[in-house]
């Protein structure tokens, strides 16, 4: 499969993701903020009237803002009516589908330049209410009545993985330790501190002090969420928005001399309820989407210089790097422990701090990941820059793996 017309990224912009600083803003106001940054990011400048359509990912605006009709809400507030716009939803991958819709819309010939993005305004609700909203990504008929939650579903996968490969929760902690290091270098991240620093800051109030990351993670500060997953195994609740500007290859040069080309895109689904899946230690949606995206790009996992993968929970990052073919089955955890996925490793993963530290405003996450790939491939990632990054990969998952988008970008 190939596209009838090539598509490139010519701009990207995001708000910082955060649990507190955006409390006075609504979803559309956050989306506007991100869109203005994307517009400003275009090297050669862009007239907002050049944007012919807007595609927006937002997972559950009904729960958070009592609002639907998100496409029109956003084009209106951006001053872009009557251009077309609509919402895409696929749980935590909602904005990757907005991106994909943008790619299809341009490749189809209907539009030349579009704005894609996503937003989620989550922090008005209590943790239990957010747990409830997020649980709509799972199967309401068969998974929710027994009491499964989102962390709980990934905990089920973690336990199955530990059992199959003899891995442990302690080993898994290599993931948040890396994420917090990367997040400390990202001014858009929700958490910009190493775990040890957070631990000692929180601990100070209770007369506790810690020697290293692992001591914090094993302490009572790291409270249990869904056994065996604790607080630092989980991404936070966040407000935020992220956007990108896509253009047909044939018009992209009007906006920049260095467009980021979209070499492969793929989307897949899997059974909604995890008990119906073929495996509890691999997400088939990722495996299939990865294969197809690599095939379309004519590339292999080893060609990738930097990847943003969906790490809503620690175990998710391990499954992702195995399912995408970066590591063999059962070897993902050790790869993280050994630093192969660190900023200095062979295949840096989640250089932005991942969902764990950058934050996870569900609908904004996919395009937030694209924002990082954009920065890395343009050499604008500052202290966390991967040298000579030419090929970047996006991997965004809906729920606990019932939908997935993989896309490959090239400088």
């Amino acid at each position: 499969m190939s596209l009838a017309r090539g598509v490139s990224l010519v701009g990207a912009g995001m708000t910082r993701f955060h649990h507190r600083i955006h409390q006075d803003k609504s979803g559309r106001e956050l989306f506007n903020e991100a869109a203005e940054k994307a517009i400003e990011s275009v090297d050669g400048g862009i007239d907002r009237r050049d944007l012919q359509a807007v595609f927006v990912g937002y997972f559950t605006p009904e729960a958070y803002e009592h609002q639907g009709h998100i496409g029109a809400q956003v084009t209106d507030w951006l001053g872009l009516c009557p251009v077309s716009g609509w919402r895409t939803e696929s749980a935590c991958a909602s904005s990757a589908y907005a991106f994909l819709t943008g790619v299809l819309a341009i490749a189809s010939g209907l539009y030349d330049v579009v704005l894609v993005g996503g937003v989620e305004k989550m922090t008005e609700l209590s943790t239990e209410q957010v747990t409830d909203a997020l649980s709509m990504a799972a199967c309401d008929d068969y998974e929710l009545p027994p009491g499964a939650t989102f962390p709980g579903l990934y905990a089920l996968l973690a336990q199955a993985y530990f059992k199959k490969y003899g891995a442990t929760w302690e080993q898994l902690q290599a993931v948040p330790i890396k994420s917090h290091h990367n997040g400390s270098l990202n001014s858009n991240a929700q958490f910009q501190e190493e775990i040890i620093d957070i631990g000692n800051r929180w601990g100070a109030r209770r007369g506790l002090s810690f020697k290293d990351n692992m001591e914090v993670l094993k302490s009572t500060l790291n409270r249990m969420v869904a056994y065996p997953l604790r607080l630092f195994d989980c991404c936070p609740i966040s407000d935020g928005a992220a956007t990108a500007i896509l253009a047909a290859d044939d018009v992209a040069k009007k906006y920049t001399d260095t467009p980021i080309k979209i070499k492969g895109v793929s989307a897949t689904t899997d059974n909604l309820a995890i008990h119906d899946r073929t495996s509890l230690t691999s997400l088939r949606a990722t495996v299939e989407a990865g294969k197809r995206a690599f095939s379309m790009a004519g590339m292999k996992p080893k060609d990738v210089d930097v990847a943003d993968v969906h790490d809503c929970f620690t175990i998710a990052e391990i499954l992702a790097i195995e399912d995408l073919g970066f590591f063999k089955r059962g070897e993902g955890i050790r790869a993280v422990e050994e630093g192969i996925t660190s900023l200095k490793g062979d295949i840096p993963i989640n250089t932005d701090g991942g969902l764990k530290c950058k934050g996870h405003p569900a609908g904004a996450t996919g395009v937030g990941m694209i924002h990082e790939i954009w920065k890395q491939l343009r050499g604008e990632a500052g202290k966390r820059q991967i040298s000579n990054a030419e090929i970047g990969l996006l991997h965004n998952v809906g729920g606990d793996g019932a939908s997935c988008v993989v896309s490959i970008f090239s400088r």
Binding site: E128, T131, Y142, G147, P151
Partner: protein, 134 residues
């Protein structure tokens, strides 16, 4: 060919009567619990009802400490996936185990179906049991 109606409502109506129902493909014999209307193996819509014995082994589990709003008073509680003896897996609450000592909950242990009524919903659960002889 008169098609059965494999709805969630029928599944739960049966569960309320303590029957754990699935559907079996008449074309390729693939089995699904809960019941579903289209065979995942061969795509056929020609399936028939079957009843599971409701016994199996614990494949994986978790202890929920941060519950949804409706289960605030129940946490911590255990949720697991059970591989039924018929060869398919299904999610359920796991009762009669101690959520405060998860290390003692053994993967692979034998469990059987129990039906709970909770918040006006019929909930599928499992509890440990010992087979007389194996």
């Amino acid at each position: 060919m008169s098609k059965e109606i494999f709805t969630a409502k029928t599944f739960f109506d049966n569960l309320k009567e303590k029957r754990l129902m699935g559907s079996k493909c008449k074309e390729c014999n693939a089995l699904f619990v809960p019941s579903r209307p289209v065979c995942l193996q061969c795509g056929s819509t020609n399936l028939e009802w079957i009843e599971s014995k409701g016994e199996g082994s614990l494949e994986t589990f978790t202890v929920i400490h941060v519950p949804p709003v409706s289960l605030l008073t129940k946490a911590p509680y255990v949720v697991g996936i059970v591989r039924l003896d018929e060869g398919v897996s299904i999610m359920g609450r796991i009762i009669d185990v101690d959520p405060t000592e998860p290390e003692k909950i053994e993967l692979g242990m034998r469990v059987k179906v129990v039906v709970i009524e909770e918040n006006e919903k019929t909930v599928l659960a499992f509890k440990p049991f010992t087979t007389r002889s194996t």
